[in-house]
């Protein structure tokens, strides 16, 4: 009896170990990044911290902001160790400390929700929602366009040769240069609201979807195609019964890339023309007024949004492939 209990590892213990095995590396990496981030704050912010301290009457070496301008941040920090803690609590730091960004994020999301102002114009949730809606709309347009193009390219030699170079060329044009033009042109013909932004998202997201789907639709081997040929299957039957199901894993992977691209497109689309809503507008406003903390919290909001959207596609991918019997 006792032998058995000793020999068998406790179920609870094993479970905890499995979880900690999965979580520990993630926690370690995050901790390392935060540590490095705090360290980086010191040389980045020491100049302004010293200037502030000097103004407040502290003795710093060397005296005078002009004197220190060209000096290295690390050297200054070593020479003024007592001022170093100040670098983490600057009002307008070059690089805000993690806790400053975290607090700003909380202030503009959770705290506003708690006080019933979750959707006010000062709330990051509101801006995230604005960006999200045009991201998703643009992503849908881009995905439909990308899949449509891929189907054309796979089935028509002419389209393959005529469309692909243009698709590639379209992606070499810097989106930052085109985005304002798209917005201005569309506004001038009366198209306003989220559609112009969504079109920029679509412009960026159709490409990965098209490329991925071309690869996916071409993934069936010669043998699979020959098999259908012996059944005298039509092109449409070959598409629905072979090409389309074979392309599913590619489809989801390229949708993940497309979604991330669509988010970039939406943010870029919010920057020109004095937009006042959306994460892109927050970024731009932050940089106008030197509000680095606001910039960083908007950046993090965008990153979290991307993670959620891509994760969502991943969940759907899992469910669909599992239902198809193709889950690994």
């Amino acid at each position: 009896m006792t032998d058995a209990t000793i020999a068998k590892p406790s179920g609870l213990g094993a479970g905890v170990r499995a979880v900690s095995d999965a979580v520990l590396p993630v926690v370690a990496v995050v901790a390392a990044i935060i540590g490095l981030w705090y360290l980086a704050c010191i040389p980045m912010n020491i100049h302004t911290a010293l200037t502030d301290a000097e103004r407040a009457g502290a003795v710093v070496t060397p005296a005078g902001a002009a004197e220190r301008r060209d000096m290295g941040g690390i050297g200054l920090a070593l020479a003024n160790t007592e001022i170093v803690p100040d670098v983490f609590s600057q009002e307008r730091p070059r690089l805000p400390a993690p806790h400053q960004v975290g607090m700003e994020l909380w202030k503009t999301t959770g705290e506003m929700v708690l006080t019933g102002r979750g959707f006010s114009k000062r709330s990051l949730l509101y801006h995230a929602w604005v960006t999200l809606s045009s991201t998703v709309l643009g992503f849908l347009i881009g995905t439909v366009a990308g899949v449509g193009l891929a189907i054309g390219i796979v089935h028509s030699r002419v389209m393959n040769m005529a469309v692909m170079p243009w698709a590639i060329a379209s992606q070499t044009i810097p989106i930052l240069a085109v985005a304002p033009m798209i917005i201005v042109v569309l506004n001038s013909v009366g198209v306003t609201g989220i559609l112009p932004k969504a079109l920029i998202s679509a412009y960026l997201s159709f490409f990965p979807v098209a490329v991925g789907m071309v690869k996916g639709l071409r993934s069936p081997g010669a043998m699979q195609l020959d098999l259908l040929a012996t059944y005298n299957a039509s092109q449409a039957e070959t598409f629905w019964k072979l090409r389309m199901p074979s392309s599913m894993p590619y489809f989801f992977t390229s949708m993940k890339i497309g979604m991330a691209a669509a988010l970039v497109g939406a943010i870029v689309g919010e920057m020109p023309t004095g937009a006042v809503r959306g994460l892109g507008a927050r970024l731009l406003a932050g940089s106008y007024y030197g509000q680095t903390v606001q910039i960083w919290s908007a950046l993090f909001a965008a990153a979290i949004l991307a993670a959620v959207l891509v994760g969502l596609i991943g969940l759907i991918q899992r469910a669909v492939l599992k239902k198809m019997g193709m889950a690994s």
């Binding site: 020959d226 012996t230 059944y231 299957a233 199901p245 019997g325």
Partner: protein, 274 residues
């Protein structure tokens, strides 16, 4: 040697019972390294109900010949007819089932759904699809596996499922390209036995490519020996074995004599090569 053919009276003359007739067939592939003559002057008549094996060293055109029959390749010279039609017409008439070397089942379809694939394309009704699936699953000894996905089956079972798929629609010609090549000896023996039983029950005409001399001799009513560069037929051996073939027939002198002749034929092909 030819005079004592008893098996099924196959003869090299074109007649009513001829299913596949190849007449001075040539096929040259144009490749980047110049033309490759895969088939040269191939003359062969396959009769209804024949079990014909193709054997020969790698690159002698066995697969190519089967693909020409199935209209997957087109000859550059000579003529070939299938059921009195061109291969393309025969394909449109759904004259053959083709079994490839790899099972090639769709991973996203269950075994039953895989077998339904040709039936869906050929427009069978739902009920008759079910009927056909049940019938061929039984034929290849896979009853009860219809709802499994391919990855849940062993390689041999997958290959049987792919044979079932080729049998599901009522094509009277079955073309098989090294269907058992990747399987172990025991499974292969078992499948050979099953294939013979199936052939007897269905009366199909079978073209079968193999690298194994015992397999060819055990299964066939006729054995076509080929040699490479250019691919051509060097010998056609009529089997004198009875239709009833238990596995241990492979130890009889008669069997060994035929196997010996096949081996001689293969050797002669190689000698030409050097």
């Amino acid at each position: 040697m030819e005079s004592d053919i008893a098996a099924n009276g196959a003869a090299q003359v074109v007649s009513e019972s001829s299913v596949i007739v190849a007449d001075s067939l040539d096929l040259t592939f144009q490749t980047n390294d110049g033309p490759v003559q895969a088939l040269r002057d191939v003359n062969l008549t396959i009769n209804r109900g024949d079990f014909v094996s193709f054997i020969g060293p790698s690159g002698c055109g066995k697969t190519t010949f089967l693909r020409v029959v199935a209209a997957l390749e087109h000859p550059t010279g000579g003529t070939i007819s299938v059921n009195g039609m061109s291969p393309d017409e025969a394909r449109r008439a759904r004259a053959y089932g083709y079994v490839f070397q790899a099972a090639g089942l769709y991973p996203w379809r269950t075994i039953a759904k895989n077998i339904k694939l040709p039936l869906e394309i050929m427009g069978y009704s739902k009920e008759s699809q079910e009927e056909h699936v049940a019938r061929v699953l039984k034929l290849v000894d896979l009853e009860g596996f219809g709802e499994k996905f391919p990855w849940q089956l062993s390689g041999g079972m997958q290959q049987r499922a792919s044979i079932a798929r080729a049998l599901a629609f009522d094509a009277d010609i079955l073309l098989m390209d090294e269907p058992f090549g990747a399987l172990d000896e025991i499974v292969r023996d078992h499948l050979n036995e099953q294939l013979l039983a199936l052939w007897e029950r269905t009366g199909k005409t079978i073209g079968f490519v193999t690298h194994s001399i015992p397999e060819a001799v055990y299964l066939s009513t006729r054995i076509v020996v080929m040699s490479p560069r250019p691919g051509r037929i060097t010998d056609v051996i009529e089997s004198t074995l009875p239709l009833e073939r238990p596995l241990d027939i492979r130890d009889t002198p008669e069997f060994l004599a035929i196997a010996h002749r096949v081996r001689e034929g293969l050797r002669a092909g190689h000698a030409y090569d050097d």
